[in-house]
Symmetry: C2
Subunit: 352 residues, 2 copies
DNA sequence: TTGTACGCGTTATCAT
DNA sequence: ATGATAACGCGTACAA
């Protein structure tokens, strides 16, 4: 059933080495011979066996991106940037979805390492997982995407999440809000921690007490978590209920928006909402969503570039930390002045 | 640098065969010996070489899903169903994004075949591509997802798109619409063709002329295509402008919604919109979107089930065509009676 | 162009 | 239960 180079060689009446040359150094083979070999390949339906090739080469020509959550458009956009860069470099990129679950992340890491991929891009559930260190030590190039690690032995691309948090809450404070909720979790997640820290920073910078940041923790970062958080907030007594919510990502914010409206809250009059990521769906939400924009495709391209650089430079590679700046996009969900559905031009706000 | 079974054997003071037994038949090894070997593996950082293992085994333990468009949540939800089924069967699933481009699809198909994956799931750009036939003949199990093929030599899972089209346009006709546009493309795409055919069917069943279905072709199936289609429709003279649009998917519909509103059209009063897929974001759109729901995760699980069945049953496998029924979810974008933002309960409509 | 050693884990055989 | 050893799978690269 399986057709090997040997079969091709017999069929074409040449030696095994010649078939290999046709595959890898076609210019070393006389045109007539080459054509005979290629014809034999077509006739027999020869398909190169990557395992055998890799076994010899030591490494595959494939990279993997382990996504935090494939159902979040933010990560598919990041992946799309990577794909573009990988394709340009002739590397195939496989996408793996850890779905925020450490076991799945672990399983994919093992698979990719066992497959001797040339590099792994990952948005880890837990960036401090010792497994990541082990893999680096054993020689697999690894780039951390949309997270950072404290130590310097890592390439990473990230966005300044603390700044993002400051932008978001700074904007809400400017809008006159004094009781602001932060929705996100689990708290161990780097982005959650940093975005929350930025929020807290903006609050104390404005002379407010830390207690004015109402924590509404969530189990994960999906739409469902926003729905349940909305119920908890809507259930608070009006006198102490936050007048604004800063959500750790847009999925949570969209869930929050949907459920708060269903529960009779007016957005932004009763509750202003700010999301994070500025995924495409944020602009077309029931009330267009104010959000902190991250350069998604760029993030992906930068990550791919880093891993390719690490491959080229080998041992004497300098680890690089690329940090992008986020940008606040103001829309109707946080701003009375743009709340009319007819004049929904987003505005960009800078941190003063 | 690279640690092989041989190194492990030396370190543990056992023979090579024993190490192999620990890896593949742990019950054949005395507990004490097993632990010594496992400790040696940990100490040395041994990582099994998949290439070598596959080379011997003939096949890998991996499947791939080639997605039509990873930025469309419909496909990530399908993928999520597959992941669940694959995980349960101990198979890893790699996601590949063809991004609607035939070259990329082709490249990924080759990669996967060369990697001797145990099966390929694919939502093809062109289901009639001869490459698919060749791969089947050469022995790679293949399941077509969200598409069908005319011949019977294929496993496929799909949703009855013609029924979906009938449901959508039947609903608009019931709402009193008589000039209805169909937005989608390219026309060669199976779903586009079938959904359009269903639309046409509903129209002629109602005694209308085929010409009353206004074709607004699009280049692809993304949000951007909806934006430009909205401009073309808004630019038509009011007297002949369609009063309703049926979009071939929700991304187009969301783009359509966003741009039409920006251009001053009221939804649904000036223009009713119906989408397709019922992705999660459809419900939280600026005007909640009426859409034809497909059982996304189920579709993925069924596809994974089929490919696993084909593996088990080997040569005497009966190809199966699983077809699901779509369901119309009525929301404000097509229905005055639910247009108030406070009472946005979706209704389910059946085809009479 | 050809012949052949090589990479590495798996499996089987014979022996202990 | 374990040891020692060799054949195997298949594409690659290099010396001849």
């Amino acid at each position: 059933m399986a057709v090997s180079v040997k079969d091709v060689a017999v069929r074409a009446g040449v030696s095994l080495g010649t078939v290999s040359n046709v595959l890898n150094r076609p210019d070393k083979v006389r045109a007539a011979t080459r054509e005979r070999v290629e014809e034999a390949m077509r006739d027999l339906g020869f398909v190169r066996n990557e395992s055998a090739r890799q076994l010899k080469a030591g490494r595959s020509n494939t990279a993997g991106y382990i996504m935090f959550d494939a159902s979040n458009p933010f990560f598919t956009d990041v992946a799309s940037g990577m794909e573009a860069a990988a394709e340009a470099a002739g590397v195939s990129l496989f996408l793996c979805n850890s779905d925020q679950r450490p076991e799945r992340e672990h399983a994919y890491l093992s698979r990719l390492e066992q497959g001797r991929v040339l590099g792994i891009l990952i948005t880890p559930v837990d960036p401090s997982s010792p497994m990541l260190d082990q893999m680096r030590e054993r020689g697999t190039p690894l780039v951390i995407v949309d997270r950072t690690r404290d130590d310097d032995d890592w390439c990473s691309v990230a966005v300044d999440d603390e700044l993002g948090g400051r932008l978001a809450v700074g904007h809400l404070l400017e809008g006159g809000h004094r009781r602001i909720a932060f929705v996100g979790g689990p708290a161990v997640l780097g982005q959650v921690r940093d975005r929350r820290a930025g929020a807290w920073q903006a609050l104390t910078d404005a002379g407010l007490a830390a207690a004015d940041l109402v924590d509404v923790p969530s189990d994960a970062m999906g739409v469902a978590d926003g729905l349940s958080a909305a119920e908890r907030i809507a259930g608070m007594p009006r006198a102490t209920r936050p007048t604004a919510v800063f959500c750790a990502n847009d999925l949570i914010a969209l869930g929050m928006l949907q459920r708060s409206m269903a529960l009779g809250l007016r957005i932004p009059d009763d509750l202003a909402i700010v999301g994070y990521d500025d995924i495409d769906f944020a602009a077309s939400a029931a009330v267009p969503l104010t959000s902190v924009r991250q350069p998604r495709e760029q993030l992906g391209r930068a990550a791919a570039r880093l891993i390719l650089a690490e491959l080229d430079e080998g041992a004497r590679h300098q680890h690089e930390h690329v940090t992008f700046q986020p940008e606040l996009i103001v829309r109707a969900s946080s701003d009375f002045t743009v709340a009319s559905p007819r004049s929904r031009k987003p505005r960009r706000a800078a941190l003063t």
